[in-house]
């Protein structure tokens, strides 16, 4: 009897967990941040670092997830990105990085053709999420 009660509770907790997982945080949980570090070196590291306050040709990506677009004070953004009224959520990064940057944000200085490998994109975003 006790066993059956515990089983129901566990099933409810599992269902509730799955609902939460599907509702909001799937991309981060799907990605492997360690693998994303390699993707970052391959795709991003020439123009960006994840060091706080260290800009290269592109701005620092430290704490990028949750940051408002064009908001690093000492980086000289394009007008296109200065005027981009969005926050870099994981979903926004997924949308932005899965296509050519100039298609996503016409007028940006960023020359990036986009990452079309879904697994690598998830891993990369998980890595960016981990840099806070």
């Amino acid at each position: 009897m006790t066993k059956r009660t515990l089983g129901k509770t566990a099933r409810r907790a599992l269902i509730a967990g799955l609902v939460c997982y599907g509702a909001g945080t799937l991309p981060a949980l799907a990605g492997d941040a360690a693998a994303g570090a390699d993707v970052f070196k391959q795709e991003c590291a020439e123009c960006h670092t994840t060091k706080q306050g260290k800009n290269k040709k592109g701005p620092s990506l430290f704490g990028i997830v949750g940051r408002h677009a064009g908001s690093i004070a000492d980086y000289n953004y394009s007008d296109a990105l200065k005027n981009a009224n969005w926050e870099w959520s994981e979903e926004k990064l997924h949308w932005y990085l899965s296509q050519p940057a100039r298609q996503a944000n016409p007028g940006t200085k960023m020359k990036y053709s986009g990452l079309d490998d879904a697994k690598q994109l998830d891993d990369l975003i998980a890595y960016l999420q981990s840099n806070h």
Binding site: Q42, E46, K54, K57, K111
Partner: protein, 445 residues
């Protein structure tokens, strides 16, 4: 017994050889294109543009920086476009005395003037032996570039380069004047920096270049040799004057593909000119035709492999046919230079480079005594360590390179043994006697 003329030519060949060895050592040590001034300007690490964080071999990102006229920036104010390099070395030749010396001290003026103007100028003070130093204008590449153009809907860059070595401005940087690597040659091509009377740094010219759709590169240009008085003022020994050039054309076309984890390129190059050497001599019609293939595995930058093969054939229509020892020189001839280089770089810090260098030419008993062959074969093996110049190293804006290099010769002047044709009982020099080992330390800041 060899005639006076034969002995004279052989002596010239020997002098030329030792000059080539010295030049090889200098090129191997002095080629620092990972100029810290660029790192300060862009915020990038040396290793972003150079797999081994010191150069000269470029990563695809480094190629784009060069194509953009050295103008890319982190947008954080004007940086002073000056850098310096010091090189010290311990040289151990197979024959002769070992030396330890300050080999070279360089000043670089390198960086952007505006979004459209940038450049690379190197002034080198080199140790010519016995601590006798000379200062000369070394490499120069001044550029105007128009970026972000669209042609038929595709990204296009158009630029103008003014430089002093045809091919030095090449983005792929596999051609000898850009890579600093060419076979030691008795009769090398005009595009080989190890040839006697090389054009390297002794000419002025340039051309218009374009990169279309990120992949297709083309360049057309022309050059003139500097007057001997100008060469003298710029610090060059006029005995190595490349001669008077006229009707000179330089052409380059290449396909290059950057796939982030890998890169490959295939290109062709041509140089055609009429050369008078000495300047009052009849002119030789010379045409260089070459191709180059490169491949890079970059991956996550932990293990990088770079392979480059360059093959240049030079066709000569001589203006004169001198008679040497009763033999008339041929009116036409070829020179053929080939370079294969493989470099493995671990963690952008530890690298092993192996190069196979071959120079051959048309047999000509009058022009190439004593064997009538100008052929040479050599190898260069370099192991080096560059501790800095990465994003996560002590400094990303300066660097140190510690290198051990072995030069190995298996053929010179057309022979492996008795390469200068010494008579029986005379001092014999074999190709392997020209081997050398060197340890060097270079610091750039």
């Amino acid at each position: 017994m060899p005639s006076f003329l034969t002995r004279h030519v052989a002596r010239r060949a020997a002098c030329a050889f030792y000059a080539i060895v010295v030049a090889l050592l200098m090129f191997a040590h002095g080629q620092a294109h990972a100029v810290p001034a660029y790192a300060r300007q862009t915020g990038s690490a040396c290793a972003d543009c150079h797999a081994g964080a010191y150069g000269p071999a470029l990563t695809p990102y480094g190629m784009r920086f060069k194509l953009n006229g050295y103008t890319d920036t982190d947008g954080q104010g004007t940086k002073i476009p000056v850098a310096a390099q010091l090189v010290g070395s311990h040289n151990v030749p197979a024959r002769g005395d070992s030396t330890t010396q300050l080999t070279e001290a360089d000043v670089y003026l390198a960086g952007r003037i505006s979004d459209h103007f940038g450049g690379f100028v190197k002034v080198a003070t080199t140790n010519d032996g016995n601590d006798h130093f000379s200062t000369k204008l070394s490499n120069m590449d001044l550029r105007f570039v128009a970026k972000d153009l669209k042609v038929a809907g595709k990204d296009t860059i158009v630029g103008v380069s003014v430089n002093n070595s045809p091919g030095f401005d090449d983005p792929i940087a596999a051609l000898p004047y850009a890579s600093g690597l060419g076979p030691p040659a008795v009769s090398g091509t005009l595009l080989n920096l190890s040839s006697s009377h090389t054009l390297y740094n002794r000419v002025i010219g340039g051309g218009v270049y374009a990169l279309y759709d990120n992949d297709w590169y083309g360049e057309i240009g022309t050059y003139n040799s500097m007057p001997t008085s100008v060469q003298d003022h710029l610090g060059f020994n006029t005995a190595s004057d490349p001669g008077h050039l006229s009707d000179t054309g330089y052409f380059r076309f290449a396909y290059m593909k950057d796939m982030k984890r890998q890169f490959f390129s295939a290109g062709v190059v041509a140089l055609t000119t009429k050369r008078q050497l000495p300047r009052n001599a009849p002119s030789d019609d010379i045409t260089d035709l070459g191709y180059d293939l490169t491949y890079q595995f970059l991956g996550n930058r932990e293990n990088i492999v770079q392979v480059a093969y360059v093959n240049i054939l030079e066709q000569r229509d001589y203006g004169s046919t001198p008679i040497v020892n009763g033999i008339m020189a041929k009116p036409r001839g070829d020179a053929h230079d080939q370079t294969l280089s493989v470099t493995y770089t671990f963690r952008q810090s530890y690298a092993l480079q192996v190069a196979h260098l071959v120079s051959t030419g048309t047999e000509d008993a009058a022009r190439y005594p004593p064997f009538g062959k100008p052929d040479s074969t050599a190898n260069m093996i370099t192991l080096y360590w560059t501790p800095f110049g990465k994003d996560d190293s002590f400094t990303s804006l300066a660097n140190l390179k510690l290198a051990a290099t072995w030069y190995r010769f298996t053929r010179f002047n057309g022979a492996g043994s008795n390469i200068f044709g010494a008579p029986p009982g005379g001092p014999v020099t074999n190709a392997k006697d020209l081997d050398a080992f060197t340890l060097s330390a270079s610091v750039a800041f």
